[in-house]
């Protein structure tokens, strides 16, 4: 299935990646090339096959519902682009 520039614009928006207008066509071409190659999966008969999400067939382990870590805001904020008074500073979210 070929992807057009409008689809790339939409997907880039979903992925929160700014793509300039002049990149949309070339990207559409690249992504279409990859997806055309992927299309060969249609040849495989997968009727009645269970999707495989993991190679580790175990149930997730349970643990005690207790606090095991935390209480160190300085560590949490150590790499923040902006922080103040033990908070992350982010752009205004509510107008």
């Amino acid at each position: 299935m070929a992807i057009d520039a409008a689809t790339v614009r939409k997907v880039a928006r979903l992925a929160r990646i700014a793509e300039p207008e002049d990149r949309l066509e070339p990207l559409a071409k690249e992504l279409s090339g990859i997806l055309n190659w992927i299309e060969q999966l249609a040849e495989v008969d997968t009727d009645g096959v269970e999707p495989m999400t993991t190679s580790v067939e175990t149930t997730l382990p349970m643990r005690e519902d207790v606090v095991t870590d935390g209480g160190d805001p300085a560590k949490v904020l150590a790499n923040a682009p902006k922080s103040a008074k033990n908070f992350f500073v982010v752009p205004k979210v509510v107008e």
């Binding site: 096959v49 495989m52 580790v56």
Partner: protein, 490 residues
């Protein structure tokens, strides 16, 4: 003391234990080698002061009779592993300056056993690549060059820095990770040994995530035994990773050199792909002959869905990546590129921070997971993944392990394939099936091609049966007697 850097890890540990030299001496020799090899661009961060502190502490432990399994051995760490207080960027601009306040479980296990960190190793950005060219810090050069040639070749990827550093004798061994072949293909391209263990052997905690259902850490080293020693320390259950297996770690080194007589080794006929160079075909035949001579029974097997593994991978891995990499939003760590509002800040941050290949994969992943395409692409790929895993299960009824080439070519020139994503993806044609099925796979250097470049053979084992791979791997290593080394040009 150049000779100290030529030792195998095993020989170095023996030398430390017999007090032939100290860890400080051994570490200093490696620091000098690292500094003299900057032309390779293998290290993105060098930590000589920390290395010497760790070496000193190791010598003191040894003097007290408290030496651990790896005590005093200088290693390199792939930049995908978070290391406390030391910049960890996954070779991406978006993580420039990021200094984790915690240590990955795998590296913590190495330090627990006394290892010394020389620094962080270059790689493809977020481990997405097969040539190391997607690194934001520039490609790594393979220490190997064609005979008489002076063009820089790729060390493979994504663990290209690990492979180059081990091959160039800058460290005794290195950590690496493998999502579709990122340990085994670079090992083949640099004449080193690399093993991706069974999914769940090594904890993924503190390893920057690419595709969580496929990512697995493993070692790169110069001998099969060295790889076994390293994996022993790296592996082990970790409650902080729910996919880490709650099982004992065997003493992998004890399997090296064990007789392989009577083992049934499968040769999957679907791995004879069109256009495979005659030299690789010949090497494979040679590998079969070696294992026959060692007493193995060779059995032809069929893995009928092999050709669908790469296309399935290029849905599953980008899908998981698009989700995993959503965390890089410029709010809590890493790069922030301001915009007029919150959404624009996200979009600018990610446009500026991610490289072209990473963006490409995020876009594909976002597309195949988006409304209307999920069933046709993502669900379909998960079903094909099951078919691929079933193929292996059927093979295990007849054989104990499989022998294949590791990669469809020797190392190629930097820049040769970077314009064609699908041509680049085809590098992983023999390695990616193993990740989808969660199985262990090892690459062992087995010979050189006509231009003098190393080639590797891959062994694939049953889940949790790394032991058999170490036995077969050391049988091939012994028969191949691979002694070639890259000629020093750096």
């Amino acid at each position: 003391m150049a000779e100290l850097t030529s030792l195998t890890l095993k020989a170095a540990l023996d030398g430390l234990s017999s007090k032939s030299f100290s860890s400080v001496e051994l570490t200093r020799a490696h620091i000098e080698a690292v500094e003299a090899a900057r032309a390779l661009n293998a290290f993105v961060v060098e930590t000589p002061d920390r290395a010497l502190d760790m070496a000193k502490a190791s010598d003191e432990r040894r003097a007290r009779g408290e030496a651990g399994r790896l005590d005093g051995a200088p290693l390199g760490i792939k930049d995908l592993f978070c290391t406390e207080g030391v910049e960890s960027t996954a070779a991406s601009k978006i993580l420039k300056g990021f200094k984790p306040t915690y240590e990955s479980t795998v590296t913590a296990n190495l330090w627990r056993d006394g290892a010394v960190m020389l620094g962080k190793l270059n790689m493809d950005e977020f481990a997405m690549g097969s040539s190391n060219e997607t690194s934001a810090w520039g490609p790594v050069a393979n220490p190997w060059r064609t005979e008489g040639g002076n063009a820089n070749l790729t060390p493979g990827g994504s663990s290209g820095g690990s492979a180059a550093a081990v091959a160039a004798e800058l460290c005794l061994g290195a950590t690496a990770t493998d999502t579709g072949g990122s340990i085994r293909q670079p090992a083949a391209f640099t004449g080193t040994v690399g093993i991706k263990p069974t999914y769940g052997r090594c904890s993924r905690w503190g390893v920057v995530a690419f595709a969580s259902s496929l990512d697995q850490a493993g070692p790169m080293a110069r001998t099969v035994e060295d790889a076994a020693i390293l994996l022993h320390s790296m592996a082990g259950h970790d409650p902080k990773d729910s996919t880490s297996l709650p099982i004992e770690t065997p003493d992998f080194a004890s399997f090296c050199g064990k007789s392989v007589k009577g083992l049934r080794v499968g040769i999957p006929k679907e791995y004879r792909v069109d256009g495979m160079p005659a030299e690789i075909e010949k090497l494979w035949e040679q590998g079969i002959a070696w294992l026959k001579e060692a007493g193995c029974e060779i059995v032809e097997v069929s893995l009928p869905h092999t050709k669908y593994a790469l296309p399935a991978y290029y849905i599953i891995a980008p899908a998981e990546a698009s989700s995993n990499l959503a965390r890089y939003d410029g709010m809590r760590y890493g790069l922030r590129a301001e915009g007029a509002n919150l959404t624009e800040t996200y979009e600018n941050t990610r446009a500026e921070g991610f490289g072209a290949e990473v963006k490409r994969r995020i876009l594909i992943g976002t597309y195949v997971l988006s409304a209307g395409y999920y069933d046709a692409y993502y669900l379909k790929a998960l079903k094909v993944r099951r078919r691929i895993a079933d193929d292996f299960d059927q093979a295990w009824e007849k054989v104990d392990a499989l022998l294949t080439p590791t990669a469809p070519s020797a190392a190629f020139a930097l820049g040769q394939k970077s314009d064609d994503p699908v041509a680049m993806y085809l590098n992983d044609i023999f390695t990616v099936t193993v990740n989808l099925a969660g199985l262990p796979g090892m690459s062992v250097p087995a010979g050189v091609d006509a231009s003098g470049l190393p080639l590797g053979l891959q062994l694939i084992g049953k889940a949790l049966d790394e032991g058999t791979l170490f036995s077969l791997g050391s049988a091939i290593e012994k028969a191949a007697d691979f002694k070639a080394k890259p000629k020093k040009w750096w």
